[in-house]
Subunit: 249 residues, 2 copies
DNA sequence: TCATTGTTGTGAGCGGCGCTCTCTGTTGAG
DNA sequence: CTCAACAGAGAGCGCCGCTCACAACAATGA
């Protein structure tokens, strides 16, 4: 029998794997149901008022239960936010994968995924902030989240790997990265060592910049700076793709 | 005579210009003094616990006064944070300017300013978060803050402008930006039209990426990704400088 | 079958928060 | 000297996260 304390882990596992150990008793079914409802309500509120405004008490009110009862399901507000964080990581990863069209030419795939991530972020700005904005608490089990967080950047890597395999990658130009700057484990993670250190560095840079430029747009730093955010974003995408050797002009 | 309500504007003006209308009466002197003390205490707490943890009540406790008294000086917590925001904008701008060595070659100036901004950010991570992390409230008088916020990017622009004047700028390569993506007013702002639209776009990109890569490092997204953050950062700086035509390899 | 055991929900309560209001004493301008 | 503007104190409102004791209840094993 699992105790209440184990629940958090169970929820994370649920979010990660998409399924839970099948609930055997009525109580377990009710528990799974209510856990989902709490998450759904929290997610709704996150979308409306953002992470700072999300309160456990208001979730409880929304569900017509005592605020203290919610603590049977999530040990703290941070734990609830962590669950939402994982959910959001999965969503942006899914959005990236969904907007990849493996049959298109690499350049169009690249733009498609960049735009897919941007569109998700514009439609879910509070979720984006949760992922890439200022971190608030101690937060989630790092090992679990990093695995999920990799989904989006791996989608980018796959495009470049395919281009490389098909000979569609130009030799890169410009300054090169000190190889010792990159964590060796990253090389293995990225498509089982399909990339050189230099390519890996540029991939990291591209991922980094994709997130960065969206943040600038979302946080208003481009106000009075750019006139057409979508065009500026596409320019960023092309610039970054070219840096990796994709054939933009 | 100014009323209490005017104080906020006075504080902002004080932070911006570095001086205030000379206090004539003892009361005005005391007011200026206490305002500074409140800001100093708030700044101290910001550095320790970050913006979410900063509370007006604890500032009041720190200064040995009733919490309600603080409201004579700052109309709300947001207004206090706004003052800190402006202070931080000025600081990072000053750090950028201080780390520029106008007599050095453009490439070294470029690296110097990038590192200067990074070092300030590492030493003031909560302040960085206030500037470039998730925005929380409605926040400051935009017109005032944008003027101050421009200090740091303008330092970058100056280096490139000097290089261009001295003929040290290579013709740029790679994808170009749709000119209509850039706000025309930006062209005038940047050294009175010293730059082409394309150069302006690349400057914006560089500024954007400088902030972005620091955010990634500060927020832990580079953990298990890079092995040497400083080396990776310098790589970013060189890559960005080369994109603007600076002679990095 | 039934007592035992762990789980679930409640409501009261703690300390903290931002913020408001009223009241008192004080300062400075006319 | 008068009087309006100001500064500070303290009580209080409605939130918040979180804890705890308690009662209702469901699963389980003797």
């Amino acid at each position: 029998m699992h105790t209440v304390r184990d629940n958090a882990r169970a929820v994370l596992s649920f979010l990660y794997t998409g399924s839970m150990n099948a609930p055997r008793t009525a109580r377990e079914r009710a528990r799974a149901e209510l856990t989902r409802e709490i998450l759904a309500s929290a997610r709704r509120q996150l979308g409306e008022v953002g992470a700072p405004g999300l309160s456990l008490r208001s979730v409880a009110r929304d569900l017509g239960m005592a605020s203290s009862a919610v603590y049977r399901y999530f040990a703290s507000r941070d734990e609830l936010l962590t669950a939402l964080l994982i959910e959001a990581y999965n969503e942006v990863g899914a959005a990236a994968e969904r907007s990849d069209r493996p049959k298109a030419v690499p350049e169009n795939r690249w733009l498609g995924v960049w735009n897919g991530v941007r569109n998700w972020s514009l439609a879910n700005r509070h979720e984006y902030a949760l992922l890439f904005g200022t971190p608030v608490p101690g937060y989630a089990a790092p090992h679990l989240t990093t695995e999920i967080a990799a989904r989006m950047p791996l989608t980018l890597a796959r495009i470049v790997a395919d281009a490389k395999r098909d000979g569609g990658l130009r030799p890169y130009t410009g300054p090169e990265c000190d190889p010792s700057a990159i964590e060796p484990a990253m090389l293995a993670l990225l498509d089982d060592g399909a990339f050189t250190v230099e390519e890996t560095a540029r991939l990291i840079l591209a991922w980094n910049r994709l997130v960065g430029v969206i943040g600038f747009e979302l946080h208003g730093h481009l106000k009075n700076v750019t006139a057409d955010d979508a065009a500026y974003f596409e320019y960023t995408a092309r610039s970054e793709g070219a840096n990796l050797g994709l054939a933009f002009d």
